[in-house]
Amino acid sequence: MSATHTIINLPDQRTATLPKRNYINAEDGLLSWLLTGDHKRIAILYLISITFFFFIGGAFAGLIRLELLTPQPDLVASDTYNKFFSMHGIIMIFLFLVPSVPATLGNFLMPIMLGAKDLAFPKINLLSWYLYMIGGIFTLAALVLGGVDTGWTFTTPLSTHYLNTHVVTTATAIFVAGFSSIFTGLNFIVTIHRMRAPGMTWFRMPLFVWSHYAASILMVLGTPVLAISIVLVALERTIGIGVFDPTKGGDPLLFQHLFWFYSHPAVYIMILPGMGVISEVISTFSRKRVFGYTAVAFSSVAIALFGFFVWAHHMFIMGVSNYSALVFSLLTMLVAVPSAIKIFNWAFTLQKGSITFETPMLYAFGFLGLFTIGGMTGVFLGALGMDIHLTETYFIVAHFHFVMVGGMLMAFLAGIHFWWPKMTGRMYPESLSKLAAVTTFIGFNLTFLPQFILGYLGMPRRYHAYPPEFQVLNVLSTAGATVLGVGYMLPLLYLGWSLKYGAIAGNNPWQATGLEWQIQSPPLTENFIETPIVDHEAYDYEWLAHKTEQEVTTVG
């Protein structure tokens, strides 16, 4: 890409240096990281640990796809296969997707975007990372001790009475990791309410903050219900209480209700922060304020609110009453609308912009396409009669991978690339990263589009062996997974490389308007030298141009 195509505004490379004092070199030694209260350092800790678990979960995904290359159960035994998909689900959901954007990018950026020096409770923030790690260690322990084969949904009475694997260990892991998530959400809500800089009114906040606010509400109110249902499962396994056990008079559907009361809002916990990233990226590379700022902001809150009313759509064929199936299906249709609003607003942000196509923007475009498919296939599943045929098949697998991987992971990568210069002070290699973005997009579609067809054919999920007529599509899917794997390895390599060899980024390589771009990269430990006073709306590019002009006149 030649310079005319981009807005990258790098300092002169011969003279450029990283700022002498920044949060990375403020203190030395491992302990200074492990005991830090600095939200930026905690974000980096999270980034490292999340990446670690992502690749473990990814390895399991690879093994699953490898096994499904042939219809016969030939690579591993059935028990092993069941452990593969259980570990894949548990690690990816509780240790990657839920904390991914909030705990890394959110942690790093939220205080800066609000003009604060730190999150409201730095120690609780650190505690939340430790809880995450304890959860992670328990998960790894369950893995090393022989794995767990409940699936991530812990369906009773299977998980309570019929399995001999390390269910309690895993339950502990999820319980603890859940509290990590609660503390992150709590910290964000308090910070947003209490720590905004002077002049930073609610409707001057970046949309990234709005979407994190919505997600945090879900974390705080939803996660404890998961915690209690997991505790009851563990108690039922260990001492044999009878809350979910049908032989003792309990109702296993009650577990489903409590589990999905969290686990449906959980998908909004996962996707909402990603939506925040997309708002920032699309605005910056169109050089325009997000179209319909208030609509996008309120749609985040609407998703969070409606998100609590739709959980039983996971149970349509499980024997909920017809009446409540109707109610939940109707509400499910309503929750789809705010997502549609967001998609169209992002598309119209491009209108009359001045668009460039840096890597984060490519990922964001990928997000728009894949999330549209993911969201629309969600409507398939929310429609009662359609759900009967599609649920528990590969259609649903493809659907949530389109939302979670095609949506959330794309957004995560967009965000990582977008804020990489701010986090490290260095640029990632542009052409290589564009290659990675395109590879990911192609690989993703090749992996998951065939699964929609498989699902309509009726191939059930979590199947170790399958009828031979499904093989062609499975081979395609496995081939795509290989490409996808390469697409995810690339950023790991070149981002690592760029830590040392990347071009110096300067304060504001993208010419973006957020407060985080007005300070040095990497930022100081206390973020701002003096508390900023906000006198402009979010995404005000005229303000930015004016400010730059002034700086040039005063300095030069």
Binding site: A197, P198, G199, T201, L253, S321, S324
Partner: protein
């Protein structure tokens, strides 16, 4: 909350802010006595057959006691609207959990199951 620290009227002063109010021991004593009386009434009411009203009365008394604790012991009466709304949000979500789940159980064609 004095003036000169804050250049920003929208942020700290309203509506999420409330003066720090110190509740007096006398109030606490009244609340304490009220709670003990409430407990006695609950136990007493349980021995009277009120039919369907028994659980209603028990829950009404418990809720009253809880509200008193929240308002006075927990100072919510003197807190900002933000805190009041937060407390409300918690009970609201709890109600969502209950009503939406009950919408299933109460309309099941199979009775219990």
């Amino acid at each position: 909350m004095s003036e000169q620290h804050f250049h920003d009227p929208a942020n700290i002063t309203n509506p999420e802010h409330a003066e720090h109010h110190i509740v007096t021991p006398a109030t606490y004593c009244m609340v304490f006595a009220g709670l003990l009386v409430g407990t006695a009434i609950t136990v007493g009411a349980a021995y009277i057959d009120l039919g369907i009203l028994n659980p209603v009365v028990a829950l009404a008394i418990a809720s009253t006691k809880a509200v008193i604790v929240i308002l006075f012991f927990m100072h919510v009466k003197y807190q900002s609207n933000l805190i009041k709304m937060t407390v409300g949000a918690g009970f609201f979500t709890f109600l969502v959990l209950i009503t939406m789940t009950l919408s299933d159980y109460m309309s099941r064609a199979w009775g219990l199951w």
